[in-house]
Structures are given as structure tokens and as C-alpha cells.
């Protein structure tokens, strides 16, 4: 018995690693990319020949950090990501809850279709769609004037960019919340109710804590996706509401300063990772459902 078990365990190990290999490979490539980006960011642009200087320096970081516009865009990006995450979760939670709990198969199907339909329309196309709807002559203003209200400049504002982002992020958040909510047995909520809790109390003391793994997962995904988003701020902001990705793009392709672009990219990666790390630390180790037996 023992003799037979030992080779089996020995054989199992390499199989596990083999299965992991593609993922490890991919992560490895990403890490190499990150390393190259870091190396790039340490070379200043030589304005005499428009090449990167061979020697290492922190000059790019100094330049970037000393410019007020960097901080302004950074603030706009992080505040935007925070607001979008909050708004998305607030909207996604009831949507996912209804989808999981509705007794009607028809309602569930309708909610799923409504969720996935925009999923298949790329972000750029969707942004242009909003451009048309929210434009001076668009549907939104037609409704406003139809109601006897003055037409509004809806485009190219921070609010519009955030709106577009929330609308784009919603399906991601809902999809991440569905399994978390589906894992909460119906009877747990009934039990809370039967023990004297009204609906808000049940939500606060039972539903929300039990949905935490899903909420943390969804906020990390929405936050990082928003933080690095390019198309929505670019198109709906019309160049006035640039997020950090636009600044990186401009550095690389408008002013052709790859060193500076890389420094900006490293800045965003570093700060973004820090925020995510803080979320995980605050939320504790059991966050994503590990080590949590139900």
C-alpha cells in the first residue's frame, strides 16, 4: 500500500507543474516586458540625435514627477477609477442579485442577454455610440428639448467619461458577483429574516459580508481596468479629460520619447499595484474565497 503510494505522489508533481507551464510562461513574458520597460525608463532622451542615452539615470522620473500635469492626470485617473468602481459595484450588485435570485427563468434570461449584448460590442464602437447619442444633435438632447428643457453640452466632460466607463465595466462586475451571490444559500437570508432582521439588516450583516469575496474581486478588476483605460476618456473626453494611458501614449507616439513614456508606465503600474495590494491586505487573506469553507 505504502510502496504503491510513494511513486504515485512522485509522479503527480511534474504533471501539476506541466499544467501550470503555459500560465507561468505567459507571466514570465509579461515580467520580461516589465523589465524591459523599467530598463527603457532609465534612459533619458538625447535631444541632439533623438536617441536614448546609453547611460542609466533617473532623469525621466525627475522630469515626469516635476510636471504638474502628471499629477493632475494621475489624480483624475485614480479618482476616476475609484468613482467608477464604486458606481459600478452599486449598480452591479442589485443586477447580479436579481439575476441569481429571480424565480422566473424568463427574467433571468432577459437579464443575461441584456448583460452580454453590449459585451460583444467593442469599447471603441460603444464609445462612438455614446458620442452620437450624447452629441449636440443626439438622442439625449432631442429628449431634453422635447421636454422643453434647454439642450446641454453632454460630451467632453469628466462625468460623461465616467458614465461611459461605468457602462463598460458593469458586465465585468456583474459576472464576478454572480458566483459569489449564487454561493449564498437562499435559506441563509430567510434565516436572518426569521430571526428578526429586516431587509436592510439582512443586507448589511449577512449578504454583504458573505458576498465580500465577489465584491473584492470585482472592485480589483474594475479598478485596474479603469485605471488603464484609454478609449473611453480619449473619445468621450475629446482630449480634455485624458487619463494616464493617454499621457503614456502621447509620450511614446506624439513626442516619441520612449524613455519618458516608460517612466510614466512604470509610475502607473507601481501606484496601481500598490492600491491593489492595499485592498488585499485590508480585506485579509480569505478574500478571494481561499481557505473559506462553507
Amino acid at each position: 500500500m505504502n510502496a504503491g503510494a510513494a511513486p504515485a505522489t512522485r509522479r503527480r508533481l511534474p504533471t501539476g507543474w506541466l499544467l501550470l507551464a503555459p500560465a507561468l510562461l505567459l507571466t514570465g513574458v509579461l515580467l520580461i516586458g516589465l523589465g524591459q520597460m523599467l530598463e527603457l525608463s532609465l534612459h533619458e532622451l538625447d535631444l541632439s540625435n533623438y536617441r536614448l542615452k546609453p547611460e542609466y539615470s533617473l532623469a525621466n522620473y525627475e522630469t515626469v514627477l516635476s510636471r504638474p500635469v502628471t499629477w493632475r492626470v494621475l489624480l483624475r485617473t485614480f479618482a476616476g477609477a475609484g468613482l467608477v468602481t464604486l458606481a459600478t459595484l452599486i449598480l452591479a450588485f442589485p443586477y447580479a442579485y436579481l439575476l441569481v435570485r429571480t424565480p422566473s427563468a424568463l427574467v433571468r434570461k432577459a437579464l443575461l442577454v441584456a448583460l452580454f449584448l453590449p459585451f460583444f460590442i467593442g469599447q471603441v464602437v460603444r464609445a462612438y455610440g455614446w458620442l452620437i447619442i450624447l452629441g449636440r444633435e443626439g438622442l439625449a438632447n432631442a429628449v431634453l428639448t422635447g421636454l422643453g428643457l434647454p439642450a446641454q453640452d453632454l460630451l467632453f466632460s469628466y462625468g460623461t467619461v465616467l458614465f461611459g466607463l461605468v457602462q463598460y465595466m458593469l458586465p465585468f462586475a456583474v459576472l464576478l458577483l454572480i458566483p459569489a451571490l449564487a454561493a449564498i444559500p437562499d435559506d441563509i437570508e430567510r434565516a436572518s429574516e426569521g430571526l428578526g432582521a429586516n431587509w436592510p439588516s439582512t443586507f448589511l450583516f449577512v449578504l454583504l459580508p458573505l458576498a465580500r469575496p465577489g465584491l473584492i474581486g470585482a472592485s480589483v478588476v474594475v479598478f485596474t481596468l479603469t485605471l488603464t483605460d484609454f478609449a473611453m476618456p480619449e473619445i468621450l473626453g475629446g482630449g480634455t479629460q485624458d487619463f494616464f494611458a493617454s499621457a503614456i501614449y502621447d509620450a511614446f507616439f506624439q513626442i516619441s520619447n520612449a524613455g519618458q513614456g516608460a517612466a510614466l508606465a512604470m509610475l502607473l503600474t507601481g501606484l496601481g499595484s500598490a492600491v491593489v495590494a492595499v485592498i488585499f491586505i485590508l480585506a485579509g487573506t480569505g478574500t478571494l474565497g481561499f481557505r473559506q469553507s462553507r
Partner: protein, 381 residues
Amino acid sequence: MTRDVPNPPTLMPDAATAPPMVEIQGVSKRFGDTVAVADASLTLERGAFLTIVGPSGCGKTTLLRMIAGFEHPSAGRIRIHGADVAALPAHKRAIGMVFQRLALFPHMSAADNIAYPLRRRGHAKAGIAARVEEMLALVRLDGLGERRPHELSGGQQQRVAIARALAFGPDLLLLDEPLSALDRHLREGMQLEFRRIQQDLGVTTINVTHDQREALVMSDQIVVMNHGRIEQASDPHTLYREPQTRFVASFLGVTSLFAAEVAAADGDRLTLRVGGETLRGRGLAAPGDAVDCAIRAEHVTVAPAGTPPREGGNTLPGICERVIFEGDRSAVIVRLPALGDRPVSAFAPAAAGLSAGAPVAVHLDPDTLFAFRATTKEELP
């Protein structure tokens, strides 16, 4: 189909003055095409222990959920303390419920689970801590309050669920087969312990179980359900001795069933004709009716052939087919040619000297041979 169900016995002395704890009148519940509960009526006096039994899917959980306020009846009325609760949400009903799957809060310790109803009801902090200790002691879990549900055994989780349901001093406790997941030993221990707690606190209880023994041992009143209907509601003795439907007769105990025809009727005393023989039994039927007869194993006496027949007849010849030694007694299966070789179960003293293949004389007690008008074409089992 309406049936005359005898008035449930009065279980508490003050029942005449106070309104019954629970009154259910003509309650039905439909889920789409499924009729989960059909026209159920029952009355439960304060302090009583009522058990609902019935096969899986017969509507037991649905009935409990309607009393608790988690489902709304499609028809009928539920009164608690004499007041109609149709408009009362579950959190205002002051009913403790232990769910079929317990539904403990996995993110809270046992103590926090028990404190939950007290906190939601705005009890004072100091009082809560004391009450939690008291409840933990009541269910014999002292010292385990800080454990999370998944760190407790099945039986311990069970007790946390009961403590949680009792913590706020509910008037009514609903138990949905909470003991079903436990092994027999633990279950029987919990049954006794639970009966002790229930009697200490005097809380009116409705218990759902699949365990006949549990039902007969613990209850003041038993309700037998089948296909969403209440087949019979009475105290355990009456239920066992005077089953009112074929289903009730066959559901409790080891029962043999066979078909017969009524030859004559005198009140509930019937003369039955079956396979050329005449038997006497009891039931409400008219001459000429086709009936299903049921008799429990303990009312069938098996003796070696040639034993002088008992007075009053009702003894038929048969062949002993199997003798199953059960320790304190033997279960005997006999075949009676008069009943179309249908097997009939009986019990015999272990030393009765019966063996398979031997001819026997089988006596069917006429007082407990029940005949029910055959209402369905269902095959007899």
C-alpha cells in the same frame, strides 16, 4: 375529497381560554402547476409538540415556510395567537425556525450566530452576552462559542441552530428535519435532549421528520401528509390505532395490504370477503364496496398449523415463507392462498418454533384489520 377528522384532542388545560397558538384553515400553495400544499387545516394549542410526517415532496417544508412567513399561501388563512398573519412579514412573526440545511451564518462564530436575533431585536448589550452563555449551556456547547460553524461537528452545528432559534424566546418553534443528517445514535440523543429543552421552555413546536419513531415518541399530535394533503391529524395513539386512510395505515409501522369486498356492514364492523374466505374487520363502507385492507404486523399472529383456532374465526391457513431473526423477536413473512398468495408480515416470539416452508395458521385481529374504500386504482404495494 372531504373527510371527517376528529377534533384534535385538547392538549393544554388553559386551551379553552387562550386562542390556539396556530390555526391553519384551508391553506393551499401552488408553484406553477405543482400543488405543494392542498387545503390543509390544523389547530395547535399553546405548548404542544406537533410533528408532521409524510413522504418526500409531500409539502412539509412548504407548510412550515408559510407559517414562518417565507411563502404566501395561494389560498386559505393562517392565524397565530388568533391573529391573521397574512400581512405580517417574517421578521415580525417571532417564530424560531431551524432549517432543513441549518442555514447557520458561516462568517460568524457560534456565539455571534446565537446573538444575531438578540442584536437585530435591539436587546441590551450586557443582556445579550448573558443570554448567549445561557443558550450555549442549554444546548451543552459551553466553551465552544468562539468556533465558526465549519469548526463544529454536525451535531454541534445542529445545537447552535436550535440555540439560535430559541435565543429570543419565540412563541413558536419550527423544526424542518434538523436531525435528519445525523447518525441514528446521535439523532436519538438529540431527540431526547430536544424534548427536554422544549419542555423546559414550554415552547410550542412544530417538527418535521421522516423518523416514525421520533414522531411517535416526541409528539402530542401528529399530522400525516401525502401529496400536499393532510391525511390525518391526531395524537400518536389514535393515529396508530385508528388510521383513517389507507395511506396512514401503511405509512406507520409494518403494514400488510390486500384487497377485499364488503359482504355486510354493522356500524364500523365489517364482514369482508376475500378469495372465498370470510374475514371480519373495521371501517366505514357499505356492502358491495371494494376495499383495501391493512393490518399491522403486530396484529397478525402466526402459529404452527394444527394449533386449535382462536375463537371468533379470522384464522386462515398459510405457508411460512421467511423467518427473520431480529433479536428480541422474529419477523415472519407468510403467504396466504386466500389472499392470492400475497405476503403478510407478522411478528412472533423468537422461540415460536417457526421455520420457512412450514404450514401455519394465521390469525388476523378483527379489531385492527382496517378496511378503506378503494379510492384509487393505485396498485397495492
